[in-house]
């Protein structure tokens, strides 16, 4: 096979693996961003964090939120809820950053999946 073509195919293989692995990290991040409390499920988004923060700043101590299953939930201790979702957010984003930084440095398929 022509050397140029061989190199291009190797690079294409690397790019497919990189793309796929990045998507898997995104999915892992999505899973890690879920906060479970009292049988309810909340996906921690920047919107949820900002909304809770705004409510706290407006002196609300409790809040009704709708969870991922469209169930209304009375969050009785808003400050504690806010603290918990922040923890989930930081843990998930830190892990995502660590994993993403690691694969960004790799230049071979084997290293991408850390074999």
């Amino acid at each position: 096979m022509d050397e140029k073509l061989e190199k291009a195919l190797a690079f294409s293989n690397y790019m497919i693996t990189l793309h796929n692995q990045s998507k898997i990290f995104q999915e892992q991040y999505a899973q890690n961003s879920i906060y479970y409390t009292n049988g309810n499920q909340f996906t921690v988004t920047k919107e949820l964090i900002s909304f809770c923060d705004t409510m706290i700043r407006n002196d609300h101590i409790a809040l009704i939120l709708v969870d991922d299953n469209n169930i209304p939930v009375n969050v009785e201790d808003l400050k504690s809820f806010f603290k918990d979702i922040l923890n989930v957010y930081f843990r998930a984003t830190n892990r995502y950053l660590t994993e993403y930084s690691q694969i960004r440095k790799q230049r071979t398929v084997e290293n991408l999946v850390n074999l």
Binding site: T17, N20, I24, E27, Q28, Q41, D68, N69, N114
Partner: protein
């Protein structure tokens, strides 16, 4: 959490696939991540006990069932993109899960799930009586199939019987009775709901039963299991399992017989390639 809570597995071997090996492996993972008891329903109790001396410890209960020649059929099993074999498929007991389960709160799982986190414990901590997956994610990201979104062209939602949580309740009793009725009259329902596959498939029966329970429309009877169900098909290969890290060879788009490497870490995965899963379990059990 209810004191009577546990996992229910159906594991009936065929000529080539050892579902009991998967059940044994999964029950150990359940103990580790969820700390819950597991009941296995099988037609091969003697084989299980001969093969795994600690079976009575690993499993909370072992329920024996028998099969007659008429009540199983054949389907294709793949081992990657190039290998295909027709084997017995004994999947007709799932509709009896309600009566078989010794628990008030049951998480019914396929044996080909690799558990890598404790997410399923959330099923037992929430208030809904029936949970099932509709939202899923194929790890091989190029495959876009409607097969797992709707069961047919008229838009009945597809639900995965792979992982189902239920509590013993009046509504769920009605649901499982309906499921048995659908199974007994499968050809009728298959024709009404325009399902092309001739063999009985639990996913389709569950989807039809949920559709009926909802009043023949979309409704609230079934709520979502926690998170998403991640899966690889039998055209992909499970290459290695090391604790929470699983390595896959995923089918490559437009290149038959070629694969893309991928690794997951801490995600529970439904692995449809049973051959490769069993090879990995063999390696993992040897290392223990």
């Amino acid at each position: 959490m209810n004191k009577s809570a546990g996992i229910l597995l159906f594991a009936n071997n065929n000529e080539k696939i050892d579902y009991l090996k998967q059940a044994y492996f999964l029950a150990k993972k359940v103990k580790y991540y969820l700390n819950l008891p597991t009941t296995v329903v099988t037609d091969s109790v003697k084989y299980l006990k001969d093969q795994y001396r600690d079976a009575d410890v690993v499993f909370d209960k072992i329920v024996e069932v028998s099969w007659s020649d008429e009540n199983y059929f054949y389907k294709n099993y793949r081992d990657g993109t190039l290998t295909k074999i027709k084997l017995q498929f004994k999947n007709q007991l799932r509709s009896k899960a309600y009566d078989i389960s010794p628990y008030n709160e049951t998480l019914l799982l396929d044996t080909d799930i690799i558990l890598c986190n404790n997410q399923y414990i959330q099923c037992f901590l929430q208030n809904n009586n029936f949970l099932i997956y509709h939202n899923t994610c194929d790890l091989s990201l190029f495959r876009k199939s409607n097969e797992f979104t709707y069961i047919n062209d008229i838009g009945v939602k597809f639900y995965w019987a792979t992982a189902v949580f239920f509590r013993k309740s009046k509504e769920n009793k009605i649901f499982f009775n309906l499921l048995q009725h659908i199974q007994e009259n499968w050809n009728h329902y298959r024709s009404i709901f325009q399902i092309n596959q001739s063999y009985f498939r639990n996913d389709h029966a569950f989807s039809i039963a949920i559709h009926i329970m909802n009043g023949y429309t979309e409704g609230d009877f079934a709520k979502s299991m926690p998170g998403k169900l991640y899966y690889t098909t039998d055209k992909d290969i499970c290459y290695d399992i090391k604790d929470e890290k699983i390595t896959f060879l995923l089918e490559k788009e437009d290149y038959l017989g070629e694969y893309t490497l991928a690794v997951t870490n801490g995600l529970s995965i439904h692995v449809m390639n049973k051959f490769s899963l069993n090879r990995c379990i063999d390696m993992e059990l040897q290392n223990v």
